[in-house]
Subunit: 248 residues, 2 copies
């Protein structure tokens, strides 16, 4: 179907089924090749890239809408998802459909609730939806040009993720089940975009008391086999809920 | 005017002037008598207390709406204001106006954007609006019963404020211009609801490098005159923007 016709058809459905004014945008992070990655898609007829998003059904909690949208885009529900900010400036969204009729659903003023997600790179299926030409992971060091205010949304997600490192554990949804300390440190360095002192990192992360040291090490390679760790999920989830100890 | 008539009159105005689906709720904190305080109001015909709130005009940024609502309720704009979470569960707001017609503006489904505010106790004028019988500061140790999901909104604001202590400086909008270290420590203790070790607190807060020690001390009282401090606003604002140093 021609894209214009598709949008107009969807517009009529959307006016019926979704609550007005509100949209959801998702910043989906993963960690791959020692770099933080973000999921972006190219909408048909748009010059720039966008974040995956959607709308909230009339009989649906906002958080459930975010879970649904995320599942549609990634094929998995096994993802850490957290609301981080709501974007409500005038003219943030209206520009994208200038050539369309003023009553097109997609052309209205939308206030967008941002969720960031942390996903294991290999768990995610890249689902190209009917609005898009392609969907890709991009390293945060090599971002494309974004449409609308999606760069602002991405930036706020990254700042929030960095601040979260001071309050909450991270890594369970981004690393394989078993990992080495250097791998965990690389994840922190990738998120913070800076080198960390090895000794300080070890001391601090061990003080949080969320790791199990396993009775096995990784074989192979030229170096001494590094110790393997996993997260102690009970302590990890408690720290996720109550915050890390020892800040104040 | 009878309350029912007032609501119906406002309802017609609101359908014209505000964007649908969205409301704003404000959790306004101050610090007084060594206790964290929150501003609550008692809406007419409602059994429980509520947070001050309002709606977003069709031609208004969401952040500007929050500033406007805050000014209307407190008589001042000199307040630190920060969006912290958006509350979007079904049935969170619809119950409050059960006895009214289904097309009453106030009875619709609203997704509410929460802002918390930090205000100097003495700067705030308590403005009773046309919907309310009274507006009061309540100590967070002595909260009233809240209407709708306002207790959830309050709890999330407090958790966020506590986490902010790990990322950002606090106090400029809550303390007088000049203050002693024990007063600053009491503020942190009031927010965290726990006693802090004096030596650790001093070391940590001084390491943040946001204080000026003044060439004066507070006279009077039986004790040794305590040193006075003020915030170094340039460094304070930089830390507010970039986060506190030395976390990772």
């Amino acid at each position: 179907m021609e894209f214009k016709k598709l949008l107009e058809k969807r517009s009529a459905d959307h006016w019926k089924n979704f609550i007005p004014t509100l949209s959801i945008d998702c910043v989906i992070f993963s960690f791959h090749n020692s770099k933080l990655q973000v999921l972006v898609l190219k909408m048909k007829e748009q010059e720039h890239w966008g974040l995956p998003g959607g709308y909230v059904k009339k009989e649906e909690n906002v958080d459930d809408a975010a879970i649904r949208i995320l599942k549609d885009r990634t094929g998995t529900e096994n993802i850490y998802l957290q609301q981080f900010y709501t974007f409500g400036n005038l003219k943030r969204s209206e520009s994208a459909f200038e050539d369309y009729s003023d009553d097109l659903w997609h052309k209205q003023r939308f206030v967008s609730i941002g969720y960031y997600a942390l996903a294991e790179y290999n768990d995610v299926s890249l689902v190209v939806d009917e609005y898009s030409d392609s969907v890709e992971w991009k390293s945060i060091e090599d971002l494309p040009d974004f449409m609308m205010d999606h760069k602002t949304i991405f930036d706020k997600a990254l700042v929030t993720l960095r601040e979260q490192l001071n309050n909450h554990p991270i890594g369970y949804n981004l690393l394989p089940e078993k990992f080495t300390m250097p791998e965990l440190q690389k994840l922190y360095e990738g998120i913070l975009d800076k080198k960390l002192n090895r000794g300080n990192f070890y001391r601090k992360i061990l003080r949080y008391d969320i790791l199990n040291k396993l009775d096995e090490s990784r074989k192979g390679g030229a170096h001494k086999s590094p110790d393997l760790y996993s997260f102690d999920l009970k302590k990890y989830n408690a720290a996720l809920k109550e915050g890390l100890q020892g800040n104040w």
